[in-house]
Point group: C2
Chain length 201, copies 2
Amino acid sequence: MDFAEEFGPQNKLERSRAPFKRAKQTRFSRSSTKYLVIAPAYTMAHQCVVVLIMKERYFDDVKVGDRFKSEPLRVTEKEVIEFAHKFDPQMFHLSRKDAERTIFKGLIASGWHTAAMSMRLFVRTLNFAEGAIGLGVDELRWPNAVRPDDVLTVETEILEVRPSRSRPEHGIIRLRNVTTNQRGEVVQTMLASAMVPRRAP
Amino acid sequence: MDFAEEFGPQNKLERSRAPFKRAKQTRFSRSSTKYLVIAPAYTMAHQCVVVLIMKERYFDDVKVGDRFKSEPLRVTEKEVIEFAHKFDPQMFHLSRKDAERTIFKGLIASGWHTAAMSMRLFVRTLNFAEGAIGLGVDELRWPNAVRPDDVLTVETEILEVRPSRSRPEHGIIRLRNVTTNQRGEVVQTMLASAMVPRRAP
């Protein structure tokens, strides 16, 4: 599923530019996805706000080849610096001034911050009932730096699905997450395996 | 280098139990490690505080087989929940009460929080001049859950070292980081590649 295609542009800026009547439409997903759009919630001036109620997802709801796109997340300088102070105190993450003297020529987010922000977007998008339990991550790469005011989006592709051998009430999914910025540059890629709940039979 | 062996127990609790005279000793590293211990800094009641001034490390200072052990870091419930709210809003990370109903039977830290805390310990221990630029991570695993009040330590082993082909002033190191809790249980393992600065010739 392409989120944007399914529900129209989700970026706040794009939303405010979208035709007013878009928010008047009540759209139900025709595919197996679990989004239900309640619209119009309310409108104010030229802003249209769409309320999304996301149903919980189960192992049984995803299949190999399914694709999901998260909503966007804007990175702030304050958060980049806060994360660095707590977890990755290196000069290219800690202060704009010091970072200018590094090979990055400016402040960049810790790769672990990018990973954490990507997790947030993934969790909110897939929204597995009882949560997705991370089993492991492979080939975690940061091909481009993330900088303050970048807007990140995560695209998820389901690569494998199989029932759990040890926990019959769970299934294992293997997926690829690709995080891109507002220019479409890839800032993170990874493969992950997660254990997610199956529907009660 | 075994940090604890070299400088005595660094855990605050252990430190307070350590013989008073330990802090009176001024120890200089005999190996190639870059730690310089200035002691005694000051003592108060039964607490001995040792001030470590850590010199910066370069690519040229590490070789294959070198091992490093971080100081310990205590995980707090508040931090586990804060991180979850920001980055991994799932029920086993968000609230003690809800987490009790999950298969973990209690609150656990996000794997990305464990990764971030491990990064903090790694960065402080290795302390590369100008910082270590993460190129990628493989085989990131979380074999045991991290719970509030766990005390984490990271052990780093250098697996490969080679000059950078594209940046002659840098070198590439490949390393294994293993994070353990206070019972010696492994809570995270990973392989990582990082670009670090070489000494000026």
